[in-house]
C-alpha cells in the first residue's frame, strides 16, 4: 500500500515521443500531486490545495484537426484496401494487417470528445496539466478538485468578491496587475521556435512543388532530390516538435506541426510498403537510393498506381499543411500583461 493515500483524478495522457510516457493527477490529503512518468522514473510536483488560485480550461481545435486527418487517412486506407484487394479474403487481410489503425483512431477520437488545455495557477506560476486533455474528463476532474479546494479555502462571499473585482477593474492603466509571468519573447521579436515553424511550413510548400515537378518530369535526379526533401522534412518536423515542447509553444501552428508529423508518418509508411512490394516483386532485391529513383522516375503521371497515389497524397498534404501553417502561425507574440508582485488584496491593504 502507498504510504501517502493518493486517489487518481480522471484523465491520463500517454505518448511515446521524447521519452515521456504518461501524465496523471493524484489527490493527496492536503495537496494535488502532478505526476509525469517516463519508462523508469517518475517526476512529481505538489500543489497544496490552500495555494491553488485558479483552474483554467480552454477548449482547443486538436479534436477537429485529429478528426479531419484520421478521417482522411481512414478514407485513404479504405480506398487502398478496396483498390488492392481483388477478393474478399484479400480485402480482409489488408484491412487487418494495414488499414485498421486509421478507422480505429478516428472512432476513438470521436468517442473521446472535444480536446482542451488545462492549467493550474498558483501565486508564483502556472502549471500545464497535460492529463486533462479532453473537455469531458477535464470538467469531471475540475469539479472534484473544486470541491476539495473549497473545502480547504472556503468560499468568498459574493459581495466581497464583487467588491474586489470592481476595485481591480477600476485600477488605472499601468498600475500593478496580477503576477502574470512573462511568456515567450518580447513583442515584435520572433522566437527560434517561430522561425523553425516558418522554415518547416516553407519546406512543406517546396516539397509540394517539387513533388509536382517530379510527377510530371521523368528524371532520376529530380526523384532523388524529392526523396531527400522528404527525409529533411522528417528531421525538421521532429526538431520543431522538440523546440515547441521546450519553449511551451502552443496554438494553431503547433497543431499544424503535429498534423505534419502524422502526415509524414503515413507518407513514410506508404513509401515503405511500396518499397517492400517492389522489392519482393524483384525477388527480395535491395535497391540503393539512386536505383530506386531510376525505377520510380519513368512512371507515367496519370497511371492508377500506388506510387502515383503516394505522390498525389504527399503533394496535396504538403501543400495544405504548408499553406495552413504559414497562414495560421502567429509569428509575433502579442503584448504580455504587465508583471507585478502584489495581489489586489495586498494593494488594498
Amino acid at each position: 500500500m502507498p504510504s501517502a493515500p493518493y486517489k487518481r483524478l480522471p484523465g491520463r495522457k500517454r505518448h511515446f515521443l521524447f521519452g515521456h510516457v504518461s501524465h496523471a493527477l493524484w489527490m493527496g490529503d492536503d495537496h494535488l500531486l502532478w505526476l509525469q512518468g517516463s519508462f523508469f522514473s517518475e517526476s512529481y510536483k505538489r500543489f497544496h490545495y490552500r495555494d491553488i488560485q485558479a483552474l483554467v480550461i480552454q477548449p482547443d481545435r486538436r479534436w477537429k484537426m485529429q478528426g479531419l486527418f484520421t478521417g482522411l487517412f481512414t478514407l485513404a486506407a479504405l480506398g487502398l484496401t478496396f483498390h488492392w484487394g481483388k477478393t474478399e479474403l484479400e480485402k480482409v487481410v489488408i484491412l487487418w494487417l494495414f488499414a485498421w489503425p486509421f478507422p480505429l483512431s478516428f472512432l476513438v477520437n470521436l468517442v473521446k470528445g472535444p480536446t482542451c488545455r488545462a492549467h493550474l495557477r498558483t501565486a508564483v506560476h502556472a502549471q500545464k496539466l497535460p492529463s486533462l486533455q479532453r473537455l469531458r474528463t477535464a470538467s469531471k476532474a475540475v469539479e472534484i478538485l473544486k470541491a476539495r479546494i473549497r473545502q480547504e479555502q472556503g468560499i468568498l462571499a459574493e459581495e466581497r468578491w464583487r467588491a474586489l473585482a470592481e476595485k481591480a477593474r477600476a485600477r488605472p492603466a499601468g498600475a500593478k496587475a496580477f503576477p502574470v509571468p512573462p511568456a515567450g519573447p518580447k513583442p515584435g521579436k520572433v522566437s527560434k521556435a517561430s522561425r523553425l515553424h516558418a522554415l518547416l511550413f516553407a519546406l512543406l510548400l517546396v516539397d509540394a512543388s517539387w513533388t509536382a515537378l517530379d510527377l510530371w518530369q521523368s528524371h532520376p535526379a529530380i526523384t532523388l532530390v524529392n526523396m531527400l526533401l522528404s527525409l529533411a522534412l522528417g528531421f525538421l518536423t521532429v526538431s520543431v516538435l522538440v523546440h515547441q515542447k521546450r519553449s511551451g509553444t502552443g496554438g494553431r501552428s503547433a497543431s499544424v506541426v503535429w498534423a505534419a508529423m502524422g502526415f509524414l508518418c503515413v507518407v513514410y509508411t506508404l513509401s515503405y510498403v511500396h518499397y517492400l512490394t517492389v522489392s519482393l516483386g524483384y525477388g527480395g532485391q535491395v535497391f540503393n537510393p539512386w536505383r530506386w529513383a531510376r525505377l520510380l522516375s519513368p512512371l507515367p503521371p496519370l497511371a492508377l498506381s500506388l506510387p502515383n497515389f503516394i505522390y498525389l497524397f504527399s503533394m496535396t498534404g504538403s501543400l495544405a499543411l504548408g499553406t495552413a501553417g504559414l497562414l495560421l502561425s502567429n509569428r509575433f507574440v502579442p503584448e504580455a500583461s504587465p508583471v507585478a508582485d502584489a495581489s489586489p488584496l495586498e494593494q488594498e491593504a
Binding site: 500500500m1 502507498p2 501517502a4 493518493y6 487518481r8 493524484w26 500531486l33 505526476l35 519508462f39 523508469f40 522514473s41 517518475e42 517526476s43 512529481y44 505538489r46 490552500r50 495555494d51 491553488i52 488560485q53 485558479a54 483552474l55 483554467v56 480552454q58 477548449p59 482547443d60 481545435r61 488545455r117 495557477r121 498558483t122 501565486a123 502556472a126 475540475v142 473544486k146 473549497r150 479555502q153 472556503g154 468560499i155 468568498l156 474586489l164 473585482a165 481591480a168 477593474r169 485600477r171 496587475a177 496580477f178 502574470v180 511568456a183 515567450g184 502552443g250 496554438g251 494553431r252 502567429n330 507574440v333 502579442p334 503584448e335 500583461s337 495581489s343 488584496l345 495586498e346 491593504a349
Partner: protein, 184 residues
C-alpha cells in the same frame, strides 16, 4: 497565464469574472475556476531584529535573532532560514541532505522505478531469446539489490520486483536445462 490559441496574456477581467468567458484577444472560450487564494495577501516576513544579550543568533546570519531550532541538526535559525515542512522546522542543509537520501517524501521531486527496470531486463530481451543469458541474472540482481529502495509514490510497489524475479528465474532455469541437455 496565456491563451493557448493566440498566446495573449489573460487580463484581470477574465480572472475576475470566473466561470466561462472568452479570451479578450481572440475570442476563444475559456473556463475559469477562481478560488479565494487569489485574493490572499502574501504573509510579510517579519524581521526579528538584532539578538539581545543572552539571546541566540542565527547560525547563518549572526546579526539576526534565532527564532527556532532545526529539528534535525539542532542549529539555531532565524525566520528567513527556517523552512517548515509538514510541521517540522528544518534548515536548508538538512533538507538538501534528506532529499539526497530520499528521506523527505513530502519534497521528493523524482523517483527511479527499479522494479520496472528489473522487469524490463527480464521481459524485453526475451524477444530475442539469447540476451536473457545475461539479462536474467541482471534482473534478479537489480530486484534484490533495490528491493528496499523507495518505489512509486502512487503505484504498485513490490509486484514489479516479484514478477521480475519470477520471470528471470524461469529464464535462468531454462538456460540451465538447455546447457545440461547440450553438455550431458
Amino acid at each position: 497565464m496565456n491563451c493557448t490559441r493566440c498566446g495573449a496574456a489573460f487580463g484581470e477581467d477574465v480572472f475576475m469574472a470566473g466561470g466561462t468567458d472568452r479570451c479578450p484577444s481572440c475570442g476563444a472560450p475559456v473556463r475559469m475556476e477562481v478560488f479565494p487564494a487569489l485574493w490572499r495577501p502574501l504573509a510579510p516576513l517579519r524581521d526579528e531584529g538584532l539578538p539581545g544579550e543572552g539571546e541566540a543568533s542565527c547560525f547563518h546570519h549572526p546579526r539576526k535573532k534565532a527564532v527556532v531550532v532545526c529539528q534535525r541538526c539542532g542549529r539555531f535559525l532565524c525566520r528567513l532560514c527556517d523552512l517548515e515542512i509538514d510541521g517540522t522546522h528544518l534548515c536548508s542543509a538538512c533538507i538538501e541532505a534528506s532529499l539526497k537520501k530520499g528521506r523527505l517524501q513530502a519534497l521528493e521531486p523524482r523517483r527511479v522505478l527499479y522494479g520496472r527496470i528489473a522487469l524490463a531486463l527480464a521481459v524485453w530481451p526475451a524477444l530475442l531469446v539469447w540476451p536473457t543469458l545475461l539479462t536474467a541474472p541482471a534482473a534478479v540482481y537489480v530486484a534484490v539489490r533495490y528491493w528496499k529502495a523507495p518505489s512509486s509514490l502512487v503505484g504498485r510497489r513490490k509486484i514489479d520486483y516479484l514478477l521480475a524475479i519470477l520471470v528471470a528465474s524461469l529464464e535462468t532455469t531454462l538456460w540451465v536445462l538447455f546447457f545440461a541437455w547440450i553438455f550431458f
